[in-house]
């Protein structure tokens, strides 16, 4: 029991890990995430907080939670697998982009330059995790008498204000979009929204290059795995199984 109940507030510790990482040059950080599937209860709070934080329109999702059934009756279990962008070290989405709109930042986050993206969606086909979605331009209040104000609120992805103009093809409409570990929050010293809102603290986040960080400690656990390891993309999102 003593092992299960944490002796410290994990969120506070991760916050401190981030503060330490931000003191380093950007190229020396390596942001990563560990998701403890044994703690995830499938509440989808992370999915929804992500939608709210990034003002995601219909059809765009950065972090769905996969509900997987394993085994056959009577030996059946259920597993929940939150699936953010894996921020791969060898991302298949980057080299295929014909205009360098998607790239790996020095801190390891795979970013998209919305103003550069031409919307060809080659990157979406290249991602083995379906982590990229296409912003077609839908709105939640489509076909209703009034366009709600919240639909027009700008998002601040990548630290830039992106106003949403329904009916137009102004970015991010017409772009490929994906999880970026809430970079805009991260650079202000805040944890990604999904980590903050997880009711069971099933997400660990921080600098994988920092051996004292919680995330590095968790990623080194023998039960830490990555998805589709055989593809060689080297994800920086690990799962504890």
């Amino acid at each position: 029991m003593a092992d299960i109940v944490p002796k410290e507030n994990l969120l506070v510790r991760m916050q401190e890990d981030i503060r330490r990482a931000l003191e380093k040059p950007e190229g020396e950080r390596r942001w990563g995430m560990v998701i403890d599937t044994r703690k995830c209860v499938g509440c989808h709070a992370c999915t929804l907080s992500c939608v709210a934080e990034n003002k995601l329109p219909p059809g765009v999702v950065y972090r769905p939670v996969l509900d997987q059934e394993i085994g056959t009756y009577p030996n059946v279990t259920r597993r929940f697998m939150p699936r953010p962008c894996m921020q791969c070290e060898n991302p298949p989405c980057v080299p295929v982009c014909p205009v360098n709109a998607t790239y790996t930042r020095p801190d390891g986050i795979v970013a998209i330059d919305y103003e550069q993206c031409i919307g060809c969606r080659y990157c979406i086909t290249a991602c083995p995790y379906s982590a990229r979605t296409f912003d077609v331009g839908y709105t939640y209040t489509e076909g209703t008498p009034e366009q709600e104000v919240y639909e027009l609120l700008p998002n601040y992805e990548y630290g830039v204000e992106h106003a949403r103009v329904p009916g137009s093809e102004e970015s991010p409409i017409g772009n490929a979009r994906k999880c970026h570990f809430c970079l805009h929050r991260l650079e202000q010293g805040a944890l990604p929204m999904c980590v903050t809102t997880c009711i069971g603290v099933a997400n660990y986040f921080g600098d994988l290059n920092d051996p004292d960080s919680l995330v590095a400690e968790m990623a080194a656990q023998p039960n830490a795995v990555v998805l589709k390891e055989e593809l060689g993309a080297k994800p920086k999102v690990f799962y504890l199984v």
């Binding site: 999915t47 219909p58 059809g59 765009v60 999702v61 769905p64 939670v65 996969l66 509900d67 997987q68 697998m81 699936r83 298949p92 980057v94 080299p95 295929v96 982009c97 014909p98 205009v99 360098n100 550069q116 993206c117 031409i118 919307g119 060809c120 969606r121 080659y122 979406i124 086909t125 290249a126 991602c127 083995p128 995790y129 379906s130 990229r132 979605t133 296409f134 912003d135 077609v136 331009g137 839908y138 489509e142 009916g167 093809e169 970015s171 409409i173 017409g174 772009n175 490929a176 998805l227 593809l231």
Partner: protein, 390 residues
């Protein structure tokens, strides 16, 4: 009605005028439908399309690869004729260049309208990423378009310049690189088991040649440019290419099914037994392989049957490419993804929307218009000869 192939006395097969009228009528209908489709595309954007996040490419991309492939094939056909100095087919080669240009324009319009930001297309040329096959293809398209326009312009008076005969082998190699690179665009995508195969670029090469010759045969029928000799030559070429296509498809599908790697098997089974099984069995195999194969076998040297077979092959090229593009994308990459989060576009099923069909028709109309007008503009009805024969 005039024939324009190098005269072979008593051997010309003239098409009735109504064939061209039908071609014009179909073109106008397609353009009219397309006009409304383009209107929808630019007023409602991609929201009026059925593709989305999990199946990000649809009808337009399939049409684009089919048309660009056919264009490269027709162009390669012309290049071979010039390289081998087959003067008796020079008229056919000129028609092939025009048909290649029409298919190219139609294909490029499909992919242009498919872009999320069509008016940023220039970035493909000014900020090209050389690690991307698509980046390379952008430049290939520019070079290819220029070659076609210059070729058509230089031969507009019916005389093939000497240097074109001498250097057409380079153009032929370019056509191979071009069509192969189109296949590599898919072949390098490791995330899609159906695409990621060394056979994919080879399959694209064979399909390009097949659809290209088919398109030229159809064009030759419309413009009455096919004599018995040409019909026999194109018929044999199409039969050989049909055989090669079947061989490659057999190799690809049977090895996938035998190996039973789930991602690939699942995609192949989607093609063979999925909800759109009839696209493979009916459109591709039935109308695109078996029927034209029979027409060619039993109608050797018959211009009408060869032209119809060519038209069927070229038209069913779309079915072949739909079977490449869609089943690969319609696979859940992670178990549970389909139901993890719902919303428009977050689905693995796809059928083109009305807007997509209309736009596609419009692009075909555009290609048809280019060929019909170009036939007069570049005086393709005049006899063609080599400048060396002056």
């Amino acid at each position: 009605m005039t024939t324009f192939a190098t005269p072979m006395p008593g051997n010309e097969v003239k098409s009735p005028n109504w064939v061209q009228w039908v071609a014009w009528a179909l073109t106008v209908i397609c353009l009219a439908a397309g006009a409304y489709g383009f209107y929808l595309r630019f007023t409602e954007g991609h929201a009026a399309a059925s593709y989305g996040s999990y199946v990000p490419w649809g009808l337009w991309i399939a049409a684009y690869v089919a048309l660009i492939g056919a264009s490269a094939g027709a162009f390669g056909f012309a290049a071979v004729i010039f390289t081998l100095r087959k003067t008796e087919y020079y008229g056919l080669a000129r028609l092939a260049m025009l048909v290649a240009f029409g298919a190219f324009a139609a294909g490029m319009t499909n992919v242009w309208l498919d872009l999320g930001h069509p008016f940023r297309f220039w970035k493909l040329l000014t900020q090209t990423s050389w690690t991307s096959i698509m980046g390379w293809m952008s430049w290939f398209y520019v070079i290819y378009g220029l070659i076609l326009v210059v070729g058509l312009f230089l031969t507009r008076n019916g005389v093939i310049p000497k240097f074109m005969e001498r250097f057409s082998w380079i153009a032929f190699l370019f056509a191979i690189a071009f069509a192969g690179a189109e296949g590599a665009l898919f072949g390098v995508v490791g995330a899609r088991a159906l695409w990621e195969s060394g056979l994919t670029p080879i399959l694209f090469l064979v399909e390009a040649a097949l659809f290209g010759v088919g398109l030229v045969a159809a064009g030759a029928l419309i413009f009455g440019a096919m004599n018995q000799q040409a019909a026999r030559m194109m018929g044999v070429a199409m039969l050989i290419l049909l055989g090669l296509l079947l061989l490659l498809e057999w190799a690809e599908y049977t090895t996938a099914l035998y190996a039973s790697v789930p991602a690939k098997t699942s995609a192949v089974m989607t093609i063979l037994t999925g909800p759109y099984w009839w696209v493979f069995w009916g459109l591709h195999l039935g109308l695109g392989v078996v029927l034209p194969g029979l027409l060619l076998l039993f109608g050797r040297g018959n211009a009408l049957l060869t032209g119809i077979a060519g038209a069927l092959i070229a038209a069913m090229g779309l079915a072949t490419k739909l079977n490449l593009v869609l089943p690969a994308l319609a696979q859940e990459e992670l178990d549970g993804l389909a139901h993890a989060f719902t919303g428009p576009g977050l689905t693995f099923s796809y059928f083109p929307s009305t807007m997509e069909w209309l736009v596609w028709l419009g692009t075909l109309g555009l290609g048809g218009l280019i060929v019909l007008v170009g036939h007069r503009l570049f005086s393709l009805a005049t006899p063609t000869r080599s400048s060396a024969s002056k």
